[in-house]
């Protein structure tokens, strides 16, 4: 059985296209409600972006469509980035001089064995941490020079995080978790709720709105986390081992979903993983070992080795 066949079986079983259908349906629904046109074709193409058309988005639409000035300019740029952890007397360099440019619209997979510094890199890309040495530029701005509140704004509006351990707020129900980023951006409650409904429909959890995270399966939790990462419609999705705690089936569903987001929404997706399988979705793969970039590989999507 070829890998494609396997994927096909999984696809039919988990039926991610059904989800995408619902996404499209919702998209049309949004189009209708805003254009007033009664047109309701099945809408195979998703060119009309439901996010940018919807008024529920907290971020400015200009940001959602294009951040960088042109394709040549990197969205994120790392120059000689070091991360050194001080443990008492001992110093440990988790990243040793990383140079990397990430462009808008990429599906970047950072691949490396455990302990190679992937999460450390990820934290820098997501403005969760600052480098010990070197510079991280986000849209040509040095993140080390930004105030904490500014970094919080960037995290809240530009980046959607997906974690290996889901990191849902245990005391908030599904809906509460999904719209939490919108609350931090002071979105109007009614619009936030609509947005939440919409996203939960996309990830197929409309019937679990009031479940607490503890009342969901692992896969469902990660879908909630994905919906949450899309709440503010950020241009960048950062995922650290998003499938690490899931079985292959569910993992594939999640990856297909991210892949669709990349293709149809033009989102920049960065996944950090040690799972070789994920590579097949990537447009570029960064191999990292012992805190250094081993090689960078350009790819054409979905042309995985048979």
């Amino acid at each position: 059985m070829t890998l494609t066949e396997i994927i096909e079986t999984f696809k039919t079983k988990l039926n991610p296209s059904k989800t995408m259908d619902s996404l499209e349906r919702t998209a049309n629904f949004y189009d209708e409600s805003e254009n007033g046109s009664g047109e309701s074709d099945s809408g195979e193409d998703l060119k009309s972006n439901p996010y940018s058309n919807s008024a529920t988005v907290a971020v400015k639409s200009s940001e959602a469509t294009r951040i960088t000035l042109n394709e040549k300019e990197p969205l994120i740029k790392l120059t000689d980035v070091w991360k050194i952890y001080q443990m008492g007397e001992v110093e440990f360099a988790a990243l040793k001089g990383i140079d990397l440019e990430i462009y808008e619209g990429e599906f970047l997979v950072v691949l490396g064995p455990s302990g190679s510094g992937k999460s450390t890199l990820m934290n820098l890309l997501g403005c969760l941490d600052l480098p010990s040495k070197g510079t991280v530029f986000l849209n040509s701005r040095d993140i080390s020079e930004l105030a904490e509140s500014e970094l919080a704004r960037i995290r809240g509006q530009m980046i959607g995080f997906i974690f290996q351990s889901f990191n849902l707020i245990p005391t908030l129900n599904t809906m509460g978790n999904v719209i939490l980023p919108l609350e931090f951006q002071e979105e109007e409650p009614e619009k936030a709720r609509q947005r939440g409904e919409y996203l939960l429909e996309i990830v197929g959890l409309s019937d679990k709105k009031f479940n607490l995270p503890s009342q969901l399966s692992g896969g469902q939790r990660q879908r909630v986390a994905i919906a949450r990462s899309l709440a503010v419609n950020p241009p960048i999705i950062l995922a650290d081992e998003p499938t690490g705690n899931l079985d292959t089936k569910t993992g594939d569903y999640i990856l297909d979903f991210l892949s669709k987001l990349h293709e149809k929404e033009g989102k920049t997706i960065i996944i950090v993983t040690h799972d070789l399988d994920i590579v097949k979705h990537a447009t570029r793969v960064v191999y990292i070992r012992d805190g250094e970039i081993e090689k960078i590989e350009e790819r054409t999507k979905n042309k995985s080795e048979k």
């Binding site: 934290n123 997501g126 969760l128 941490d129 904490e148 509140s149 919080a152 704004r153 995290r155 809240g156 509006q157 959607g160 995080f161 974690f163 990191n167 849902l168 707020i169 245990p170 005391t171 908030l172 509460g176 939490l180 980023p181 609350e183 931090f184 951006q185 002071e186 949450r228 990462s229 503010v232």
Partner: protein, 410 residues
């Protein structure tokens, strides 16, 4: 983030909080409850003392025989100091004569008192009889009659009786112009006093000349007490000194040790009672404050633990766009809410405590009882402030957590 969202998040945190948090709230409940209980009890006591002091004549000075060193500075009630070396001393009309020259004295009168059998309608009761100078008594006393009149200069075998003698002591009520028998002598009741609520209600007042013949060991021109009314309240202190000096001279006493009389002002008595009361309220208040302090340390402790427990959540919230201020406010709102809930329950507890204590201490206390609205509001505000103050440090620490470190926390 909006305030309403902070409130929502904080409430969510409170509702999902562990038993530990609710135990912490009990600390605040007890603290606020005891403060409210004690303050309202203190208020009620103050009110009741004030009402009994208000009809106290503050210009009154009482001279009584006997003197003890220990009580010399204390101005306690006269009854307390009859012990001592010189109980056999007497106050006589010579003493009154000696004092008459003092300018600050408005009225002066000698009084005798004793307990005698009083018969009415076939029943006998032993009652306290006070013989007073009918010339001046009605100007000196603060007592008022509910029916009849006070004593007049020409009276002799007549009496003014306390309200409980009139209506409770005997099966039949005694009215004005009824005749009672004291030591086989008929005495006509000319007045019934208003109720005062203390021992005064079972006293009989008579002109001293009449009382002299009725009270068993009373002697002419010998008094149990001499009562003086000062011209004004301000003169009381200096007048007391003058009286002591005058009497020392007239009684040929040279050394302080040989002194055989005491001088007491009702003013200083009133002062010492109020003083005692307020220091008692202060003392109890201090205990309540300590329990509040303990309660707030409890809140702080719980907040620290809950910040620690929620470290990973804080990291997540920061990753999805929470500003430091958002985290700070969520935790502050949470601790304010703990204070609020504790305050509400504390007010209820305080009300029960104050009601219970007041009814325990006697019926007339409950008149001023209950917890006033303003005290409730103060208690609640206090509880919220305590919640916020004890939450400030943990909330600040939570807000300053670095997102990476918080996310890595297990």
């Amino acid at each position: 983030m909006r305030n309403s969202t902070y409130l929502k998040m904080a409430l969510n945190m409170l509702l999902h909080s562990k038993l530990r948090s609710w135990l912490t709230i009990i600390g605040i409940v007890i603290g606020v409850g005891s403060v409210i209980g004690i303050v309202s009890l203190g208020d009620a006591m103050q009110a009741s003392v004030q009402s009994s002091l208000s009809d106290l004549d503050l210009t009154k000075i009482t001279i009584s025989p006997g003197y003890t060193q220990a009580s010399s500075n204390m101005h306690g009630p006269p009854g307390m100091r009859e012990s001592g070396a010189s109980t056999d001393s007497e106050l006589t009309k010579d003493d009154i004569a000696a004092l008459r020259g003092l300018d600050s004295i408005q009225y002066i009168s000698g009084e005798i008192s004793g307990s005698e059998k009083v018969k009415y309608a076939g029943q006998t009761a032993t009652l306290s009889i006070t013989g007073v100078d009918p010339q001046v008594w009605k100007y000196m006393t603060t007592l008022k009659t509910q029916s009849g009149r006070l004593l007049e200069p020409a009276d002799k075998y007549v009496a003014v009786i306390g309200s409980s003698i009139a209506s409770e002591t005997y099966d039949h009520d005694i009215g004005v112009n009824q005749v009672i028998t004291i030591n086989n002598k008929s005495v006509r009741v000319v007045g019934v006093l208003e109720e005062k609520g203390e021992g005064d209600d079972s006293k009989i007042y008579m002109p001293i000349d009449g009382a002299l013949n009725l009270i068993t060991d009373a002697k002419k021109d010998v008094y149990d007490t001499i009562t003086v009314k000062a011209r004004s309240e301000d003169l009381v202190d200096s007048l007391m000194d003058d009286i002591v000096k005058k009497l020392m001279v007239s009684r040929h006493i040279i050394q302080e040790d040989d002194r055989d009389f005491s001088v007491t002002a009702s003013k200083s008595m009133a002062e010492s009672v109020t003083e005692m009361l307020s220091s008692m309220t202060l003392f109890l208040g201090a205990i309540a404050a300590v329990s509040l302090l303990v309660g707030s340390v409890g809140i702080a402790n719980t907040m620290f633990t809950s910040v620690l427990e929620k470290t990973k959540e804080i990291g997540t919230m920061k990753a999805i766009g929470a500003k430091n201020r958002d985290i700070l406010m969520i935790f502050l709102f949470n601790s304010a809410m703990v204070g609020f809930v504790g305050g509400i329950l504390g007010i209820m507890l305080g009300w029960i405590v104050s009601y219970g204590l007041q009814s325990m201490m006697g019926g007339d206390m409950t008149a001023g009882g209950g917890v006033s609205i303003s005290l409730m509001i103060e208690g609640l505000t206090l509880a919220i402030i305590i919640g916020v103050i004890s939450g400030v440090v943990p909330a600040y620490r939570a807000s300053k957590l670095k997102p990476v470190d918080a996310l890595r926390y297990e």
